[in-house]
């Protein structure tokens, strides 16, 4: 059960941290329709994060960080009262948003990957995970399609947008390999039919991405994968330096008022 909780935290943190980054676009998007669309996507992911973190707390109450005041619900205890080293998200989602093309590239890759993951996770033996995944599949299909449409527009729009889109993909690509690198918890739970082994998603995701890139007339990026630090990456809680600043902003008020009720 500790492993199931850890797994819920991994998938929950991916969604939570990416939602946080996407919400930074709110009032900054290139057009109002996109303010609405990116906020929608952030809201979907935030919803997934809340369900997964709540589930983690139900399954194994010891995942609650000691620093969290008792009256704080599990989802907030996990989101606001953990230190950086306890966050288990992949490093892709914690990166600064960059320009719109970089955000589109990240959303495309992340959307394809998480959709493939959730499609399989819908068949999990854990009924709650299965239900969360089944609900998430519809949302993620929209996220992926939205990003793919923008990849086409930017890739086949102007010379300038094509170059930005290409550069955006280059910046996102180093974080792709980590998506398919299983943590031991994922491997063991996948064998038990509860989780999905991310290594198995590679060809599905590659196919979709290749089709989008070909349609957009964009080359497949060749920037090398970002290595782990002595074997430790996001799933082990070793993050890149932007993560600490993201958490400072996200947690500051909650941490400053531990006795408060919001």
């Amino acid at each position: 059960r500790a492993e199931l909780a850890a797994y819920c935290v991994m998938l929950g943190d991916d969604a939570l941290v990416f939602a946080q980054r996407l919400s930074e676009w709110c009032s900054n998007a290139p057009e109002l329709e996109e303010d609405v669309a990116l906020a929608n996507i952030a809201l979907d992911l935030l919803g997934q994060a809340r369900m997964l973190l709540t589930r983690a707390g139900e399954v194994d109450p010891t995942v609650r960080p000691a620093a969290a005041p008792e009256h704080v619900p599990d989802e907030d205890a996990l989101a606001y009262f953990r230190d950086e080293r306890a966050f288990r998200n992949v490093r892709m989602v914690e990166q600064e948003p960059g320009d719109f093309a970089e955000t589109v590239a990240r959303l495309l890759v992340f959307g394809c990957w998480r959709l493939a993951l959730f499609e399989r996770l819908a068949g999990s033996r854990d009924p709650v995970l299965s239900a969360i995944a089944a609900k998430g599949v519809k949302e993620l299909a929209y996220h992926r399609d939205h990003a793919a449409q923008w990849a086409l527009r930017l890739g086949d729009g102007t010379e300038f947008s094509r170059e930005r889109m290409r550069a955006g993909l280059d910046r996102v690509w180093p974080f792709v390999a980590e998506l398919f690198t299983p943590h031991p918890v994922e491997t063991r739970l996948a064998e038990a039919g509860v989780a999905v082994d991310p290594a198995e998603l590679r060809s599905t995701v590659d196919d979709v991405l290749d089709r989008v890139l070909v349609a957009a007339g964009l080359p497949r990026p060749e920037t090398p994968a970002l290595p782990a630090a002595a074997g430790l990456a996001g799933r082990h809680g070793v993050h890149t330096e932007p993560m600490g600043y993201l958490l400072a902003e996200m947690q500051h008020i909650a941490r400053s008022h531990p006795a408060a009720v919001w």
Binding site: S23, S27, G157, E249
Partner: protein, 320 residues
Amino acid sequence: EELERRFQRTVDAEQRIEPRDWMPEAYRRTLVRQIAQHAHSEIIGMQPEGNWITRAPSLRRKAILLAKVQDEAGHGLYLYAATETLGADREDLTRRLVDGRQKYSSIFNYPTPTFADVGVIGWLVDGAAICNQVPLCRTSYGPYARAMIRICKEESFHQRQGYELLMTMMRGSAEQRAMVQDAVDRWWWPSLMMFGPPDDASTNTEQSMRWRIKRHTNDELRQKFVDMTVPQAEKLGVTLPDPQLRWNAERGHHDFGQPDWDEFWRVVKGDGPCNAQRVAHRRRAHEDGAWVREAAAAYARKRAGDAGGTGRAARTEGAA
């Protein structure tokens, strides 16, 4: 002349003017200006609350806030669409906003230094907006009236959420109660200013009333807002910062003090604590996004096989 009389008869009969109907040019211009200012207010209004999305202290409040700010963008979109039925162009209106040639509600030129400001904006600012806007659901121009019906419904929802946040905070720690009171102290007078200057200093009201664009005077609406808010404040347990505020049994209304109208006029004229910041933020977002809109337009032209297409088609295309 005949057209004008027929137009006024329609309006007097409380029937709607629709885009294809004849309308006086001054009516059209007044409406475009008013609806555009309203749209700009929604868009600029995203900023003071948007300031708290990344720092909201619980995930539930973060979701509520993000959804609310998203709704404001949506309101902006309906309203710009309403101006387009009057022949206005969104890009042109946006230019006027970012160049400082068109106004938006001055209330958004105040800063939001604490999370309690999010609740107080929901309660007082959305509350005042609803008082202003409910009569507009029966305004004479059809597309505007229909947009307002939808917007008012969502605003009421936001207002209740804001009030609920404040209720929760008032039940929390002493620090939180102080935070709420502080925010109320800062927002009360600017909220009263949202109804515009006193009737004797207000222009345009008479014509707008005749055209059924406006249905109540500024002072009537302000009184309504005060009467509605006082019991809510009591229930909440906060003090409204007006020593003159008291129930007048004779009038059946609350008496209350006047805001600092000099400050009002200064802020309207651009000299408020956040005017420059708000407009610069919008300008930057608009300019940073220009290449994206151009790319979407170029893509749409290629797809349409129509090298002479305009940016308009592209924008619709871009609005996935």
